[in-house]
């Protein structure tokens, strides 16, 4: 098995005679049927021997690793895309005795990349976490995995057993309650400290763990890419995304984890998977942004290029809206779900999200006729006003994501 395969290249790139080579985590797309996150049949899971054969052993010293991270432009792959080097530096300043957390509790129903990584490339993720632990002189590594993710849990437990005595620090699995906000970094920090897995209000966003030893939380993909760095591979030319197909709002029929090069367009990725072009895409997950397919198709999956257009891959979810579905109704269903997923700690979220969802349902009803045959800007304005009421008013960014999604829905599907 080689680690430098030429990537699938879209026709527009072929015509430019570009040859893209890059180190990839997955050789083939990984498909999950329905809502289950079981290891897919025929997927090439790497045990420790296969992992070492493919990736080699850690070769960088701590100083070289830290230098490689700061020179890599690597950003967090949990959704916020914060430069990894910022958090790493803050954790190093906090001194020894901290905790490294691998956040594998993806709460997005359309996402499967954490499951794919922890089931198929767990040793790569562990190598990343161990390199970070050494760099910040942490005393332990915590693997944060959803309670109900049985296949992932079993694989992670096997992986830790396989490493056995060669582990330089304690590595333990901690079970996250199911649901959306349990994967939020401040909720993870609270849980690691023995508290409830609920988001907390943090005064200093650069040091969310407070005054004591660092609790450095990174997403599973971020750790896999840190692992690649520590093993001497270049990690940042590709991203993992989940292409999520559904038969009804939030009823996913197939989620495909695919590794994309930053020069690949959305159209080339979908055609490579044999997926019918959608009407629109909800980019980044339930708290992401709606974009019409014609505006997205020819854009590259380059985080910086997307950011210039006010877009983000977020947690890497490409949620497809088929031609025959109503985007406002889809958004209303998602807002209902986000309202239910609130941790119910902050008033503006507890009361504001159901109100925002109600405003979207009103817009849907208005469109479906009755007295108002035509959708009216009045309903759009109500959605925008309800969104404004929740933005920036929670301890975590849960309400902000809901508002962002709602406002983009009005822009793309509104009157």
């Amino acid at each position: 098995m080689t680690t430098s395969d030429p990537l699938y290249v879209g026709s527009h790139l072929n015509s430019l005679s570009l040859e893209i080579k890059s180190t990839r985590i997955f050789r083939r797309p990984v498909s999950y049927a329905g809502a289950r996150a079981e290891v897919p049949l025929g997927a090439d899971a790497q045990d420790l021997a296969a992992h070492r054969e493919t990736w080699g052993s850690p070769i960088l010293s701590v100083a070289d690793f830290v230098h490689a991270v700061s020179g890599s432009d690597l950003t967090g792959r949990g959704g916020a895309h914060i430069p990894v080097t910022w958090k790493l530096d803050a954790a190093r300043e906090a001194g020894p005795g901290g905790t490294v957390v691998v956040n594998g509790a993806e709460g997005e129903p359309g996402s499967a990349k954490d499951a794919a990584l922890l089931q198929l490339r767990p040793h790569l993720v562990i190598d990343g976490a161990l390199a970070v632990a050494e760099a910040i002189e942490a005393r332990e590594v915590v693997l944060w995995v959803h309670e109900s993710a049985t296949a992932t849990r079993a694989r992670v437990a096997d992986t830790v057993r396989e490493r056995g005595t060669e582990l330089p620090v304690s590595v333990r699995m901690l079970l996250a309650p199911d649901g959306y906000v349990g994967g939020e970094a401040s909720a993870v920090i609270s849980a690691v400290g023995g508290g409830p897995a609920l988001p907390a209000h943090s005064v200093d966003r650069a040091r969310p763990w407070g005054d004591g030893a660092a609790v450095l939380v990174h997403n599973a993909e971020t750790h896999a890419r840190l692992g690649m760095l520590s093993l001497g591979h270049d990690p940042v030319e590709t991203s993992l995304v989940t292409v999520a197909e559904s038969s009804a709002p939030l009823r996913f029929t197939r989620r495909t984890v695919v590794e994309v090069h930053r020069l690949q367009t959305f159209a080339s990725v979908l055609s490579g998977l044999g997926v019918t072009p959608p009407r629109a895409v909800l980019l980044g997950g339930m708290g992401g942004t709606w974009v019409e397919w014609r505006d997205l198709a020819d854009l590259p999956m380059d985080p910086q290029e997307l950011r210039r257009r006010g877009l983000s891959l977020g947690a890497g979810i490409i949620h497809l809206l088929p031609e025959d579905r109503d985007g406002l109704a889809e958004s209303a269903a998602i807002l209902d779900r986000l309202a239910v997923e609130s941790a119910r700690q902050c008033g503006p979220c507890v009361f504001g999200l159901p109100s925002l969802a109600a405003s979207m349902h009103q817009a849907v009803r208005a469109r479906r006729g009755g007295l108002l045959r035509r959708p009216s800007p009045r309903h759009d304005h109500k959605v925008v006003a309800a969104s404004d009421l929740v933005v920036g008013r929670g301890a975590c960014r849960h309400p902000d994501g809901a508002a962002r999604m709602a406002m983009s829905a009005v822009e793309v599907f509104g009157s």
Binding site: V203, C346, G347, F351, R393, G394
Partner: protein, 63 residues
Amino acid sequence: MKLAIDPVACDGLGMCAHQAPDLISLDPWGYPILDGGDLHDGTLGPARRAIRACPRRALYEAD
């Protein structure tokens, strides 16, 4: 200095808005919306009264 709020601690009792109506308004459910401006001589007094008035200790001064 600015007024800041811990939204987890806040229970929407609304005492703060009584003390500093020019700095704090209440949303439809009674939770405070801060105007977000820097505090100055004219607003520091009401701001501190609002902080003291909060039974949940949810309001504070931040940089």
